[in-house]
Symmetry: D2
Subunit: 400 residues, 4 copies
């Protein structure tokens, strides 16, 4: 790429954690990858003008605004990058797609299936591309896992076991944020991190979840109002001034995949000691893969072929022949979390040029949304239905 490559002018909506991350990605992508267009950060949108100005200055956005509609309406913007809470995704994306923009929308796609379906519908008719930000698809180790599974090295898939374990809410006095508010966030651990597990599982396995049985829990029902300090986590101003938690702390469900696999999922922000254990293991009749994001540069691979020395291989997915890795450092010099977003930016730009398919599409993301809704519906009735005590009586003389 040279500076003469055509620009792709980006408006980014959201100045929080994800906004910073996407900015870094747009800037880094063209320095390490050959791209068909040159992404140009053009306009930053944030609700609070002062804070937005500060972020824009630090991250070198040439313009900023408090109104996302400005981005949609301007002719000199090509891409709308949506990094806001889930309750605003649908409205912005629908407007952007209608205006012919390319859209990158953070996950989860929406807070409801109805919204998601409308977004899929709009994407189908749109001139621009529409991609959802399930960034873990861009982990080199998981991209390699997908290649291995597609090549048949796992064989017929029987088991999908996925855990997404965090512990930042383990402390009952960790402060309240918008992520604990159902109106803003849609759901808690389920939508925030469980959604990643669902997308990763369906994408890796090449199978969709068709039914679930779920349980959800809110272990800590109120949390201190967050003080002045910004940032994920933040600092509580007054521990007794508490706001209600209206989302789940944890969700667990079993799942039936349409290809026959049996799934077991767990998402929680209260797995004490687990900082970001986004784990997945897929087992088939020919092999298995296992992954834990806490060791994101590694993929464990098992091959059931006859050999006296078989065992899970700890593959460092940092070699030139591995997905994305060739653009970076020598083998063994790992990448970090932010590189997922750089890879996402790369794939987005390439998808705009038609070089690669859009992945995940809004339809893929709506399928995730549908699973999330099914999980919530199942949990509402509390699917942990079969009582242990009763069973004893029932089965006397007629053992189960």
């Amino acid at each position: 790429m040279t500076t003469t490559t055509s620009p792709l002018r980006i408006a980014l909506i959201g100045t929080g954690f994800m906004g910073r991350m996407h900015t870094q990605a747009w800037r880094t992508a063209p320095r390490f990858f050959d791209l068909p267009y040159r992404p140009v950060p053009a306009l930053l949108i944030g609700r609070r003008p002062e804070a937005t100005a500060e972020v824009a200055a630090r991250l070198e956005w040439p313009e900023h605004s408090a109104d996302w509609r400005e981005a949609v309406e301007r002719d000199d913007i090509d891409v709308i990058d949506i990094c806001t809470p889930g309750d605003t995704h649908a409205e912005i994306a629908l407007a952007a797609l209608a205006a012919g923009k390319h859209v990158l929308c953070e996950k989860p796609l929406a807070n409801t299936v109805a919204e998601a379906d409308a977004m899929v519908d709009a994407a189908t008719r749109a001139a621009g591309i529409a991609m959802c930000g399930f960034s873990y698809r861009r982990t080199p180790a998981l991209a390699l896992a997908r290649e291995l599974i597609a090549d048949g090295r796992v064989g017929e898939i029987r088991h999908v076991r996925a855990q997404y374990l965090q512990d930042w809410l383990s402390d009952p006095d960790a402060p309240h944020t918008w992520r604990m508010d159902r109106d803003r966030a849609g759901s808690g651990a389920l939508g925030d991190i469980g959604a990643h597990s669902i997308d990763t599982a369906q994408w890796l396995a090449g199978q969709n979840i068709e039914a679930v049985s779920a349980a959800m829990r809110t272990f800590v029902t109120s949390r201190p109002r967050r003080g002045a300090v910004e940032g994920l986590g933040g600092v509580a101003a007054d521990p007794t001034d508490r706001l209600p938690v209206t989302v789940d702390d944890a969700a667990a469900f079993t799942a039936r995949f349409d290809g026959g696999a049996l799934g077991v999922f767990e998402a929680t922000r209260m797995a004490t000691g687990r900082r970001n254990a986004n784990r997945i293991e897929i087992s088939g009749d020919r092999g298995a893969i296992a992954f834990d994001f806490e060791r994101m540069n590694e993929l464990e691979v098992y091959d059931a072929a006859a050999d006296v020395a078989q065992g899970f291989r700890r593959v460092q997915v940092t070699e030139a022949r591995h997905p994305y890795a060739g653009a970076w450092w020598p083998a063994g010099h790992g990448l970090g979390y932010e590189h997922l977003f750089t890879h996402q930016a790369v794939d987005f730009v390439r998808a705009v040029a038609g070089e690669v398919p859009v992945s995940p599409t809004f339809a893929d993301a709506a399928q995730v949304q549908r699973v999330l809704a099914a999980v919530e519906q199942s949990a509402e009735h509390d699917s942990i239905l079969t009582p242990v005590a009763t069973v004893a009586g029932e089965t006397e003389g007629n053992p189960a």
Copy 2:
């Protein structure tokens, strides 16, 4: 202990894998532990006289017989050690308890809840003690875990995640054994290995499972008849001569504990690459423990107390101050699977003398049986009920 300690004369029923293991345990226990009685292997019982004679000779049992009733009726037998398939447990145990014997019965306690309840009832009225062989309770690392949890180092328990992953049936041509026959084994992965997870979870957490939602799968519905070669696994004589598999290959369930914890369980013999991954992780508001039997000498312990250097500690549970470990080798010189059975023998003998409580009791084991039955009942209706496709429609306009 000296040779003048009173003997405890043992009759062991079963000449297979577990029979060998228990024999080794009875012989080893008094050499490394100070015991109130001296266990004396006296009588070995097996259905096939010739094979039994051979095993008796090798394992130095002075007498053998084909009739377990002989053991129950003889006055010079103190302990009946039941190592047979689950369908025979109840009959033998009831007779033995009625005869005033001490009984050690392999797990699962029985094949049905009704049988288990009858056994509990008999145990309550019996003169002898009655213990069930959930041997994993005797893993030093798990015994330490229980101490830590009892000492409050995990705090209020929120999560129990247990997986018991094996892969010896991953190959569709692995031969048929009695363990695949519902009449003999009761169930498959669920009762064979899932039962261990359930017992361990309830024992560690100090909470019982009160309701479940379960799915079970039989991925390979027939297997080759086993050939002449003995041993777990064995060798198939003719791959086309197949017998039906009437038990589950895998079981998964979510669980509600009566103390408020959320449980997620998975048991399978088809987790390719996992030889014997009996894993459990328990998280509370003050800490967590994690264990994998593939590394049985290690316990991972997390302490949520403030320290700049917090993380799961890999504790080698081989120190003099650790449960059972002091009787063995210096720190870092690990124990093996068989030592669980030696520890079980030690605890059994001590329980006979009233030095320690019986653990697990038949009542503990019946509670496990009750959970197994609830899992089977839940799975019969297929608890993975909430369809993903339908949800979409339902939630339009009324998002879940």
Copy 3:
């Protein structure tokens, strides 16, 4: 930092792997850290004008040149960042320091002790700061290790064991590069990666190496001339057209630290299967730390204080309270290799402003150079001197 912060104009010399890395670091640092000056990439220097122009375009350097003297002479350049092979470091650094520039020089500081000493001397008299690029000091896990050691949590240090294991030269037909040429590189594995181990060890332990006993090996004495393809590793044009390898493939040495610790070091590019295992373990009477760069976000920490559950803790050094980590993502979202260079840029800018001490100084780096020279001198005489066969005779009647 805002755009009104004073700029620090940078000239970077070198367009290879390290040049790209430093560029990314200068650009990223101010976006995530509050800095006293704003680093501004101003001038890129490379020997080959065409290639330099291409790199400058991609990495958005506004100017480029083929002559490093231009950078030294220009008044509008504040920092000279030296990313060239070791044989050119001294000349450039001396000129830059004489011109009053701040200097960041890649490691090893020089190819000889004499050069290094001259550089130290110049740095002492210079107006600008002089820092050497031992980037591993900026690994959050190692920075935490240093804090723990400084806080006395390891106690009196007895052992330093350091291994730097790579395998990119394990294949005898991996192509020749300047790194295999003694005139350019100074030494092989020793200076390239062993130098990192030496610096890390001395910095962590707070002790210097005062004597060594060393062995060096060149297992593959010639390698194919590299073809047209650029990059570390590259592609060989013709396997039979071979160039001599004039540096070591591996170096091993024992070391005496001036604080009493016993050191064992090994550096090799032929540890098959080890991609970038930069490992160090330091043991004292109160605890220990262990690190492996293949898992760069983790530090293993052992505390010898009395507790029934002691073991190495796997600390994910990604928390807000950990060195550097607070500027980035939530806990458990790891960093990659490149972040070391961003942290180095941060520390450099802060050192220019006098906010933090220069680390490592040229004197620190010269001490590393001195150890490298001692290792080479020791190995020249082959320090593996004591023959096993002879010993037998000698010790008869007078056992050692």
Copy 4:
């Protein structure tokens, strides 16, 4: 094996830790392995009659004595099993071999090379077999490693890196035992645990060490006299009543193998946090193996063959096809430290019958002894000779 197999009557000398271990091994071996002779524990020898009587009773030795000469002289003893401190090995072994006994002698073979040579000489002329107890050769994982190396899966060996790290002397107030007394033990960490590394390395690599460069350290020069409590470690009666430590706490050396490999060895009892990390890694041009006894049931295996998914495999060496493992439990049900001794007993009995070669022979063990002596001799002169400070001066103008 049946009880009609000919007996092999054993006299065991030593009632400590190793005596218990060997007893257990002799008893267990015939129960799980088919053996050509039936080992029969016949006579236990210990210096203190009362203690010996107690141990004999507990471990069911039918006879005991205070005089090892009785064992050598009696016609009804076939095997002399020497489990005493190293200073007594030569005298006992020479007498036993002269009397036509089979001899199993604990390691290290002797305290001096002269003694070892005499023992080799006697073994050569003896009617019985003579084996040294380097028990780690019987670890299934290491036996598999040897098979893989012999099969060429590691290729031409370049690197041998061995560490034997313990920490039981890390505490300066850990009590004094005979193992800290040069007259009894010969040396400290070097002979006690370093000897194992040396034997394992030479045996696995199929190469002998021909020269060394060594350093040894005694960090704690006196220790409290041990109180009344028995056992490794024990309890100090009075912390101020101290005895001198006349052996090394730690030894480190580089080594030249006669097949071209470069060795790096470290043995210490002061590696805080490492309980029994007997580690070895061997790298060649085709692959590598790595092992740590703290996870004794695992072997890490790397294969350099082209595959997009290469990495160290964690092989659980517990399968029927693995060395020794077939006699035990199903895959994934690990063995413990004591099983090494059972396997050693098996191999000893088979070697007596000529079914397998003696391994290690006294000559193998004498080679280890010779390396130990060379290490001590090298360390006496302090091989860490090349001073860092001087080097600087020397190399000015003439860089190394």
